[in-house]
Amino acid sequence: MLAASNVTVRIGQRDLVDGVSVTFRPGQLTAVVGPNGAGKSTLLAVLAGDLTPTAGTVTIAHRAICEIAPKRLAQLRSVVPQHTAPMFSFSVRQIITMGRHPWSTGADDDVAFVDAAINHCGIAALADRSFPTLSGGEQALVNLARVMAQNTDIVLLDEPTAALDVGHQELVLTLASRLARAGRTVIVVVHDVNLACRFADRIVVMANGRVERDGTPVDVIDGELLSRLYRTPICVVDHPFSPGVPLVLPAPI
C-alpha cells in the first residue's frame, strides 16, 4: 500500500503540491489528471521517492519511503518515464534486462522475467533492435517492458502516452490495467481525461497542488468541474458504446 499524507512540496514561494493525502491500493489503476501545473508530476516524483517533500510523508506498507534503501525501494516500486533517450545504442533486450538490476536472483531468473515482459508487451520482433532506432511508440512499449521485468508491486507511469498515437496509447494503458488486474498498485499521470475515464478504476483530479476530486470516473468527472479547471467549455456525456463511461468533449456550451 502506497500512501501520501499531508504532502507539501514548496519550491521558492510556490506550493507545487499543497497538503495532499491520498492512499493507493493494490489491484487498482488510479489515474491522476488535471491541468498543466496542477502538481501531477510533482506528486508522482514524491511518490516515486525522487523528491523529498517539504512537509508530510510518503509510506510504502507503513514504512517511510525515505528510510528505504535505494535498492530495496527499486524492488518495491518502478517508474515508467515520459520518454527516455539513451545516447548509446543498447539493444532492446539489454534495456529490458536493466530492469532486473535491483534483483540478484540469478541469470536464469532474469532471462525468464525479460522474456515474459517482452511477450507480454508483444515486442518480440524488436528484441534485437537498437533502442534509438525505434519509433516513439515502440520505445514506450520497451520502457513498459523494462518496468515489467523489474517486477514490483507498485508501478508508476509518468505521462506514458504524451507523445504516442492513439493505437499506442490504447496499448500502453491496456497493459497498465492488466498489471492492476494482476493485483499491483498502478498509478498513471495522464493529460487525456478520456483515457483516464476508460481505463482507470479511480481518478484523482488535481488543481493548484491540491486534490480537487477523488473517486470513480462517473463520480468525479463532470462538465462544470472540467470547464472550470481547464478554463474552456467542456461537456461530459455518457459514452455511446460503453455505457457508464464518461466521454469528455471540448465544446461551446
Binding site: 527499486a74 545516447m87 536493466m98
Partner: protein
C-alpha cells in the same frame, strides 16, 4: 559477458602484448622479439637462456625502452578507461578528458606544483596536484552542463572550449615565469610525450592506474543504467549522486596522473571507447576493460610510430594521437548527426 565480448577482450590482450614486444624491440638499437623475452626473463628471474643479446641491448631495453613503453601503456590505459567511464556518467560520447578540459586542468595542476615548488608528497606531489586540477575542471564543466539529471551536450563541449582556453593561458603563464631547468617546455604539456620516461615516473603513475582498473569496472552495471538517465537509474536502485561522484573522482585521478607524467594527449579517451562501442555495443562490462586494453595498445603503438617514423627526429606523441584521433572525431560527429539529427 557475451562470446563476442570475450573474443574482443582476448584480441585486445593479444594486440597489447604484440604492441608491448614491438615497442620494446624497435628503435635505434633493434632488439628481436626473442631477445626482448630473453632480456626480460633474465632481469625478472635472473636466469639467462643464453640467447645472444648484447649488454648494450640489455641496458637500452631496461633503462630506456621498458619505462617508456610501460609509461605509454599505463597512460593509454588510464585515458581509455577514464574516457569510457566519464562518457558513461555524463551520458555523452564526447566526454573525453582532453575535450572537456579535464586533461588541461590536470596540466595546470602539474605545472603549477612544479613551478611553485610543491613537493610535500614526494614522488606523488605532481600527480596529486594534477588530480586536483583535473577534478576542479571536471566539477566546473559538470556543474555548468548538468541540469535536471541530464548533461547538455553543447554546453558541455563549449565549457570544455572555455576551460581549455583558460588552462592553456595558465600553463603559458606558469611556464613563462619558470626557470628552464625546473620545467620541461610548454609544448611538453600541450602536445604530450612519454619521451622523458623513467622508472620513477612509471612508479608515480602506477597506483592511480591500478586504482582505476580495480574500481571502475565494478561500476559497469550502474554505468549502463546511467545511460537510461539519472532518474531512471535511481528508480532502478542506483545511488546516483554517490556513484557519479565516485566515477568522476576516480576517472580524474587516472586522467590527472596520466597528464602529470605525459602531458595532454588528446583523443585517446574519445576514439578508443567509441571504436569499442562500434564493435561490441555500449555495455560497460566489456567497454571499460576493453577501453583500458585498447587505450594501452593504441598509445604504445602511437609512441612507437612517434619515435620511429621520422628518425632521428621524434614527432610529439600528442601530435600523433591528434593526427590519428581528430579525423575519427570528425567522422564520429558526422555519424551522430546522421543518426540522431546532431547534437543541438
Amino acid at each position: 559477458m557475451t562470446a563476442r565480448g570475450r573474443t574482443l577482450l582476448s584480441a585486445l590482450t593479444v594486440l597489447l602484448i604484440a604492441a608491448f614486444v614491438l615497442g620494446l624491440g624497435r628503435g635505434a638499437v633493434p632488439i628481436s622479439p626473442l631477445d626482448v623475452l630473453a632480456i626480460l626473463t633474465k632481469r625478472l628471474s635472473g636466469r639467462n637462456f643464453g640467447v645472444g643479446f648484447t649488454e648494450q641491448q640489455d641496458a637500452v631495453l631496461w633503462t630506456i625502452r621498458l619505462p617508456r613503453v610501460l609509461l605509454a601503456l599505463g597512460v593509454g590505459a588510464a585515458l581509455g578507461l577514464s574516457g569510457a567511464a566519464l562518457q558513461g556518467v555524463f551520458r555523452n560520447p564526447l566526454a573525453d578528458p582532453g575535450l572537456i578540459g579535464v586533461s588541461s586542468g590536470a596540466a595546470v595542476g602539474a605545472v603549477g606544483s612544479i613551478v611553485l615548488g610543491f613537493h610535500a608528497l614526494g614522488l606523488w606531489s605532481v600527480p596529486t596536484a594534477a588530480f586536483l586540477g583535473a577534478l576542479t575542471a571536471a566539477a566546473v564543466v559538470f556543474r555548468a552542463a548538468h541540469r535536471d539529471g541530464r548533461v547538455e551536450v553543447v554546453t558541455l563541449v563549449l565549457c570544455g572550449v572555455g576551460v581549455n582556453a583558460l588552462c592553456g593561458a595558465a600553463i603559458g603563464l606558469l611556464t613563462s615565469i619558470a626557470d628552464d631547468d625546473k620545467l620541461r617546455n610548454v609544448s611538453f604539456w600541450q602536445l604530450g610525450s612519454v619521451g622523458g620516461a623513467t622508472w620513477e615516473l612509471v612508479r608515480a603513475l602506477l597506483p592511480f592506474v591500478v586504482l582505476a582498473l580495480l574500481a571502475l569496472p565494478r561500476l559497469a552495471d550502474e554505468l549502463d543504467l546511467f545511460v537510461l538517465g539519472e532518474r531512471e537509474a535511481r528508480h532502478l536502485g542506483v545511488r546516483v549522486e554517490r556513484t557519479r561522484l565516485f566515477v568522476i573522482v576516480i576517472a580524474s585521478l587516472a586522467a590527472g596522473a596520466a597528464v602529470a607524467v605525459a602531458g595532454i594527449l588528446g583523443f585517446v579517451g574519445l576514439i578508443v571507447p567509441h571504436l569499442i562501442r562500434l564493435i561490441n555495443g555500449p555495455g560497460h562490462r566489456v567497454l571499460l576493460p576493453a577501453s583500458a586494453l585498447g587505450g594501452a595498445a593504441v598509445l604504445t603503438l602511437a609512441d612507437l610510430a612517434a619515435r620511429t617514423v621520422t628518425v632521428p627526429r621524434e614527432v610529439p606523441l600528442g601530435v600523433m594521437t591528434a593526427l590519428l584521433g581528430a579525423p575519427v572525431f570528425l567522422v564520429l560527429l558526422r555519424r551522430t548527426r546522421q543518426t540522431s539529427g546532431g547534437f543541438a
